[in-house]
């Protein structure tokens, strides 16, 4: 069966520090991968998605970047965090448009 792993679960980082969140999927190949951010009291904001290795689509221009160095690995990064980057970050995968997403357990990022 397919599983998705996301880490770390919580992270407290100072303003201006770098960020790296990792997400991996097991039990499938060539998944569509996604990074979402969920701010308190708000819905889900799609940040990046990828349909293949090295293919990254950005939905919102911002302080973050994403990479997909391997088929089942998706990394969210920042060179310098801002206070506004605080939030709950969710990784998800899908085999295709009609299947829905499977989400990871999320990373709570607090920038101080």
């Amino acid at each position: 069966s397919q599983t998705i792993h996301q880490w770390p679960a919580t992270l407290v980082q100072p303003v201006g520090s770098p960020l790296s969140l990792e997400c991996t999927v097991e039990g499938t190949s060539n998944p569509n991968l996604y990074w979402y951010r969920q701010a308190a009291g708000r819905g889900l904001q799609l940040l990046f998605y990828s349909v293949g290795i090295g293919q990254i689509s950005s939905e919102v221009p911002q302080n973050l970047s994403a990479s997909r160095p391997q088929d089942r690995q998706f990394i969210l990064s920042s060179k310098k965090l801002l206070l506004s980057d605080s939030g709950f970050y969710l990784c998800a995968w899908s085999p295709g448009p009609s299947y829905g997403y499977t989400f990871g357990s999320g990373t709570r990022l607090t920038v101080v």
């Binding site: 889900l44 448009p97 829905g100 989400f103 357990s105 999320g106």
Partner: protein, 112 residues
Amino acid sequence: AQSVTQPDIHITVSEGASLELRCNYSYGATPYLFWYVQSPGQGLQLLLKYFSGDTLVQGIKGFEAEFKRSQSSFNLRKPSVHWSDAAEYFCAVGAGTYNYIFGTGTRLKVLA
């Protein structure tokens, strides 16, 4: 442009009472429709989905949803709510592309 509206930000029901959460979408054709549930601090879990066929779909945890094309709605229902159903519920729309549009969520509170 596609959009999803969940008109109720908060809903409170008594345990054992019936539940209906509203979802309206805007899209030119029949989209893929999903309901997700999120417990505090957790990722989202897929409850059910619709993309064709019978307009009444059954999901996990005793939930069901009905697609009504004339009303552009996909409301989630449960005949008898349990205390463990307290969570946030998200409706999502997919249109054959790689990413979905999520509503802003409805937070459900269950009274003992």
